[in-house]
């Protein structure tokens, strides 16, 4: 896979309001092999070769791209992280690899914290379909590789927080309404008290730029996959409803002030000469909100999503074809946004 192929590929074919994407991740390890964090380099290499061979047997990944982190320049690895195709941890090591399906829906990370991290990522909210695909892949992988499993503890993983099902189900949600209304702290507390983790845009330890959050289950042992999915699904439905309520209330209570806020964001994006990635994300979040509420034509949501991804630091540099310092990146980002939004229509009254 060349980096150009990723840069030119569509961010996604579906652009729902609120839920940006659904992700399922299964942590699996090979029986009889030390976990990647404890294995010696030759053992990691052996595991990587075994896994790549097995994954190539799977129909879904037969024509997939095999990316060995040690062979990729820093910038290309960073682009993969920004596309959520690999984790920051995998990109940071030399012995990791990823096998990615042509349509970029499936990405299996090899030698991350566990030998295998099977990921299925789909745009929009499609928990059932995403899970079904992950389950099929898991069965197919199990037919080629002997997976470490314990009758009482389930799938054995390097970290005690993943043992059991090894399942992390998550939704990427855009919650500007709850953020503007100042409810996010309360929501985060309620979610974490009920076994769900709230993380930033690029996963563990990242900030929630652009009012985008990743919501996922925390517990993996003692709950069936069905129970985990049902719990997440119930909460996401609830959150979507709360977010719509918050948006309607803001639009109603604040009126002109609310529209002004969205219009100012468009104004800044159209004329700024320097924009950090966090600032650009926050301003674009307002444009996405405007699309959801009918203040901008809904068809523009796809374009806003693309600008969010393309405004990330590694994407900016990959497009420029060179490494840039933060000032250089901020200038490039601002220029790209000015050009992309030049012909955007003005913000109007909400219709929703």
């Amino acid at each position: 896979m060349s980096i150009d192929e990723i840069l030119t590929s569509e961010v996604s074919e579906e652009h729902q309001p609120i839920v940006l994407s659904t992700r399922i991740r299964l942590a699996r390890n090979l029986d009889g092999q030390p976990f990647p964090g404890w294995a010696k380099a030759p053992q990691r290499k052996e595991v990587a070769d075994l896994c790549v061979d097995a994954l190539h047997q799977l129909q879904r990944l037969r024509k997939g791209h095999v990316l060995r982190m040690g062979d990729l320049p820093d910038l290309e690895r960073a682009v993969l992280v920004e596309r959520h195709l690999v984790s920051k941890e995998l990109a940071a090591g030399k012995s990791g690899a990823a096998v990615i399906s042509r349509d970029q829906t499936v990405s299996v990370m090899i030698n991350e914290e566990d030998h295998l991290r099977v990921q299925v990522l789909r745009p929009g909210w499609h928990l059932r379909g995403t899970w079904n695909l992950a389950e099929q892949l898991d069965d197919a992988i199990g037919a080629y590789l002997k997976i470490a499993f314990h009758e009482r503890l389930g799938y054995l993983t390097a970290c005690p927080t993943n043992v059991g099902t090894g399942l992390r189900a998550s939704a990427m949600v855009h919650l500007p309404g709850l953020c503007m209304a100042g409810h996010m702290e309360k929501v985060t507390r309620a979610l974490s008290q009920d076994g769900l983790a709230v993380r930033g845009w690029l996963g563990e330890g990242t900030e929630a730029a652009g009012n985008i959050f990743q919501i996922s289950n925390q517990q993996t042992l003692g709950l069936s996959e069905e129970a985990i999915l049902h719990h997440l699904s119930t909460w996401i439905k609830n959150l979507v409803e709360q977010e719509w309520n918050a948006r309607r209330k803001l639009a109603l209570d604040e009126g002109e002030k609310f529209i002004d806020r969205l219009a100012r964001s468009l104004g800044v994006l159209r004329s700024a000469r320097l924009l950090t990635s966090a600032e650009a994300m926050n301003l674009l979040s307002h444009l996405r909100l405007a699309c959801d509420l009918g203040c901008l034509p809904e068809v523009l949501r796809a374009q806003v999503d693309r600008l969010m991804i393309e405004g990330q630091p590694a994407h900016i540099q990959a497009k420029a074809g060179e490494a840039l310092d933060s000032n250089g990146r901020d200038a490039r980002r601002a220029k790209a946004l000015r050009e992309a939004l030049r012909d955007f229509p003005e913000i109007t009254e909400p219709t929703v």
């Binding site: 069965d139 997976i147 499993f149 314990h150 009482r152 005690p160 927080t161 059991g164 330890g205 042992l221």
Partner: protein
Amino acid sequence: MHLSQVIHGKVTKVHLCESCAQKGGASDPSIFQLAEALAAPHSEPKVVCPKCGFTDQDFRKKGRLGCASCWEVFGDSLQLLLAKVQFQPVHVGRTPPGFLPLERWRQRLEAARLEMSKAVAKEDYEVAARLRDEITELEARLK
């Protein structure tokens, strides 16, 4: 995540991955009790995984295990942590293709032993040899 606790001038340090720390409650003193249970500071490793050489002190340092066998070796100490971060200590989800519960393996072992003695009695050594291999594998699995 690196945590330090000072009680009466005694410093205890714990190293946990971010999610363990978050789930275990980084401010919860029992995380430190767990660390002490796993390995007292400045002491020699007490438990070593015979399969991969990982020690209780390594776990204290990394917050992650060395191999699948470590789960058996450090089982008792891990139960403490699992009770804290997980819903229940017993898996209730999917199993790998072809997985049979232990009881089924035991039943199969008994049946295979019986079949082998019959095969030997009938001087059917080809079948007996196949069964012997299966019995060896089952015994190893049930060990």
